[in-house]
């Protein structure tokens, strides 16, 4: 076991990324971002599309929120406003990105753009920004943490999408189809992810 925060150089950045993705998987150990998983995880390609959008947004918003917290909220002693400020920052950022993506690339917009509005209200994104506050990370490490958390979420929804594609929902009892079976899949997967816990401590 290693204590990542005490290392210097690029190594801790990698470690933070990996631990955020696996050990501390935001979907499977913290159960955040469930609503989009229940809604969008029917197919692998849409799951991965949403996953990619989440990676991008968690990375950028954790960085942005780090800066806002460190250089605005702390000096003004307004830390208690973090929740609402983070939400506003995330919403504005997502809107902004949606516009930019729409303008610069139609392909990218079709692949990611439609997921962006879903993300504004995705609690995993807000969760990442809030959890980051409990860590001693610097800016670079925060970005790694955000990217890792996003990647972990994307990995999880990708796998869930894959499993759901293979499941014949018609063959399930009616009450289990859709969200029911998805919750069961998530439960089993999070048991599997328990295996990662304790591998790296951050």
């Amino acid at each position: 076991m290693e204590d990542a925060a005490n290392l210097t150089g690029l190594a801790p950045v990698m470690l933070i990324f990996i631990s955020a993705a696996f050990t501390d998987n935001i979907l499977l150990t913290r159960f955040l971002g469930m609503c989009s998983v229940l809604g969008v995880s029917k197919k692998v390609d849409t799951s991965l599309g949403l996953g990619a959008a989440v990676i991008f947004v968690t990375t950028c918003t954790s960085g942005l929120n780090y800066l806002v917290y460190r250089y605005l909220l702390v000096p003004l002693e307004l830390e208690y406003l973090r929740l609402i400020v983070f939400i506003v920052v995330i919403a504005a950022f997502v809107q902004f990105v949606e516009m930019v993506v729409e303008r610069i690339s139609e392909g990218l917009y079709n692949a990611l753009g439609i997921f962006l509005p879903l993300i504004t209200v995705n609690c995993a994104i807000l969760g990442v920004s809030l959890f980051m506050l409990g860590t001693p990370y610097n800016f670079l490490q925060t970005l790694a943490y955000g990217a890792g958390a996003g990647a972990g979420w994307a990995l999880a929804i990708g796998i869930i999408g894959g499993i759901r594609e293979k499941i014949n929902e018609q063959a399930l009892p009616r009450g289990l189809a859709g969200p029911g079976i998805t919750l069961i899949i998530i439960g089993i997967m999070s048991l599997a992810f328990v295996g990662f816990s304790g591998m790296i401590r951050i």
Binding site: L76, L81, I84, V88, A92, F96, M99, E102, R103, E106
Partner: protein
């Protein structure tokens, strides 16, 4: 204390204002596509619109109403148009609604196509004439146990120009947790009564629009409809006509027949109307009265389940069985059918067997 509250409120206000301004500014700069030209039906009409909104709403802003039942959410597929140039790629929302033939013919959902550049598109000619009307329900009257007639006074615009046989789309608003939808109903009133629209609606169990009409819509209530649409109409040949309908399929034929009376169009015509028993018949007196005014017209109600001991003097049996008695040779006839697809399919078969020419069969299937 006051100071820290003030600081918090001030900070939030400044912060949100800043972000909002940033977004507004960004939207102006980034999403400004400038004026774009919409070339409709090979130059039949060209519009210059401000880019950035959907094709559906850009057209609606210019008084061209493409049918849309879901309000542009991409879930009804009514809003299909052909886009030849400038429509961009087919988006993931549209894809499930476009068949391979649609894609080959450049069909798109106009609510999902954003106007970002000049666009060349084609819409059915009739949509140029369609308008959206605000009206008021004057009365709702029961014609049978499951059919009502609505009479709507048009307010804005105050008159409609249509051909007997065409239909309108009635909008039912959101109610009791059900979506706002639009449904097609043939106009049963005559074109000369151009300040009103009448429709005849049959209740569909659990149907979204019909349940609204039967249970929620009240007299004097405001209603919205658009139209006219459709190509179902009497040809202007002098060929003898045979009309076949069941249930609310009465509507367009009721309009066509009354219009014939107004014009004194005395072509040879039969009207076969199908019902289970006498409870399904309506306008019976009026239709038999029409026989007197149009001497070559004959009304033939056909009942399939009428009690054998009842006082019913008319035909008993399905239309395909009754038809040959009146029309042994269907060759010179033109046929106009309206109602459920099972009725239409059965009658078209019978007509074919009796020699009618295929191009002379016209129908509107009600689903």
């Amino acid at each position: 204390m006051i100071l820290s509250i003030g600081l918090a409120v001030g900070f939030l206000a400044v912060m949100t204002l800043f972000l909002a301004l940033l977004l507004v500014f960004a939207e102006r700069r980034i999403l400004n596509y400038g004026p774009c030209t919409l070339d409709i039906n090979d130059g039949k009409k060209t519009l210059v619109v401000n880019g950035g909104s959907t094709l559906l709403s850009s057209l609606a802003n210019n008084d061209i109403f493409i049918p849309s039942a879901c309000g542009g959410r991409g879930s009804c597929a009514y809003c299909k148009v052909q886009v030849f140039e400038g429509g961009g790629m087919i988006g993931p929302v549209e894809e499930p609604y476009l068949s391979p033939e649609d894609i080959k013919e450049n069909v798109r959902l106009s609510c999902q196509v954003k106007v970002r550049q000049d666009i060349k598109l084609a819409i059915p000619e009739e949509l140029f004439l369609a308008k959206r009307f605000r009206g008021k329900l004057l009365h709702k009257r029961n014609l049978t146990y499951d059919i009502v007639e609505l009479r709507i006074a048009l307010i804005e615009p105050e008159s409609i120009e249509f051909v007997a046989g065409q239909y309108i789309q009635l909008e039912s608003p959101e109610y009791a947790g059900r979506d706002a939808v639009m449904r097609a109903y043939s106009i049963s009133s005559v074109p000369s009564d151009d300040r009103h629209v009448e429709v005849i609606i049959r209740k569909v169990p659990e149907g979204i629009c019909t349940t609204w009409v039967f249970e929620h819509l009240k007299e004097n209530q405001e209603v919205f409809l658009s139209g006219p649409f459709g190509e179902f109409q009497l040809t202007d040949t002098k060929a003898p006509a045979v009309f076949l309908a069941g249930g609310s399929g009465m509507a367009p034929i009721w309009s066509i027949l009354r219009e014939m009376r107004e014009r004194g169009d005395n072509r040879k015509a039969f009207y076969f109307f199908s019902g289970r028993n006498q409870d399904d018949l309506f306008f019976t007196k009026e239709l038999f009265a029409l026989e007197k005014e149009l001497p070559n017209f004959k009304y033939v109600p056909c009942l399939t389940r009428e009690d054998a001991n009842s006082n019913w003097q008319g035909e008993r049996g399905r239309i395909p069985a009754v038809l040959p008695k009146y029309i042994p040779d269907a060759k010179p006839f033109e046929a106009y059918l309206c109602g459920s697809s099972s009725l239409i399919d059965a009658c078209v078969d019978a007509l074919r067997q009796h020699g009618i020419q295929e191009p002379n069969i016209y129908y509107d299937k009600f689903e």
